[in-house]
């Protein structure tokens, strides 16, 4: 039990580091709100290595701590919406026995859909809709890449018995 908690803590710290990198070096797509969501590497890996509870826990702690440290209430709402929608989608798809890459791709798409929906509601503007196609495609590509990385990471973790 204690061992499981410390493993989850290591993953949470990793997710924080990824979020931090993303916060200080904004990967610029030229579109507001587009975050690659590289912290999702940790979430997807945790979902397969540990389970649903751990992945949800890590995700929420990450969103709130990053929001507290580097963001404001607006960015917190954006990332929370993205994280929740993406988690729900990934958990369902994992239950449906999709491959890890498929699960991650769905997570990536929903991550961006969640963020953009929050922007639409908070800004009360239909203008953000112009960004939808780009966000869907970038979410898909990012999700697939993250899935590939998470699959490899899980193989290594299994080998070293983490």
């Amino acid at each position: 039990m204690a061992k499981q908690i410390s493993k989850t803590a290591v993953f949470t710290a990793l997710a924080m580091i990824f979020s931090y990198i993303e916060a200080v070096i904004p990967f610029n797509f030229g579109i507001p709100g587009v975050k690659i969501g590289i912290a999702n590497i940790v979430i997807v890996t945790a979902l397969y290595r540990f389970g649903v509870k751990e992945a949800v826990g890590i995700s929420f702690i990450r969103v709130f701590l990053i929001g507290l440290l580097f963001g404001n209430i607006v960015s917190l709402v954006y990332s929370l919406s993205g994280a929740v929608l993406s988690l729900i989608g990934m958990i369902i798809c994992k239950k449906l026995k999709l491959s890890i890459i498929g699960v991650s791709a769905v997570g990536g798409v929903l991550h961006n859909t969640g963020q953009l929906s929050a922007a639409l509601i908070m800004l009360q503007s239909t203008a953000v809709t112009y960004y939808l196609p780009v966000l869907l495609v970038s979410g898909l590509i990012t999700g697939i890449l993250i899935g590939i990385v998470a699959r490899q990471t899980n193989k290594v973790l299994k080998k070293i018995n983490f």
């Binding site: 709100g33 491959s99 939808l132 869907l136 898909l140």
Partner: protein
């Protein structure tokens, strides 16, 4: 990746787009006037300005400041203290919109040929 993955991804993308369009239609409720520049902060309209009159608008909110310039029928954000400065980098526009997400600021150019009021339920 297998067939199941592709089907699921396809469904998710279609549902995302549909959900978004649904949200979008529910928001289309503002009456649209002539060729105007509409600046809004969050749900509140900050002001509307004619596109054919040169102007410099300094917007100060609790989120920060943006300096919007209307010049010869185009709009751009000259300066802002937001973290990402996407709004400044988006440059001059003659249609569409500039968005500053950190400041919840939206600058839209509205033309008179759009009357989507009928959609609002």
């Amino acid at each position: 990746m297998n067939k199941r993955d592709f089907i699921a991804i396809g469904i998710v993308i279609i549902l995302s787009a549909l959900g978004f369009i649904f949200l979008n239609f529910n928001l289309k409720n503002d009456a649209q006037g002539g060729e105007t520049v509409k600046i809004s902060v969050g749900a509140d309209i900050y002001g509307t300005y004619p596109l054919n009159e040169n102007d410099e608008i300094k917007i100060n909110t609790k989120n920060g400041f943006n300096t919007v310039v209307i010049e010869n029928g185009s709009v751009f954000v000259k300066d802002a203290d937001c973290r990402d400065r996407y709004c400044v980098r988006q440059g001059k526009i003659r249609n569409g919109s500039i968005i500053c997400l950190p400041h919840r600021l939206v600058i839209e150019i509205e033309s008179n040929d759009k009357s989507i009021d009928a959609v609002a339920g």
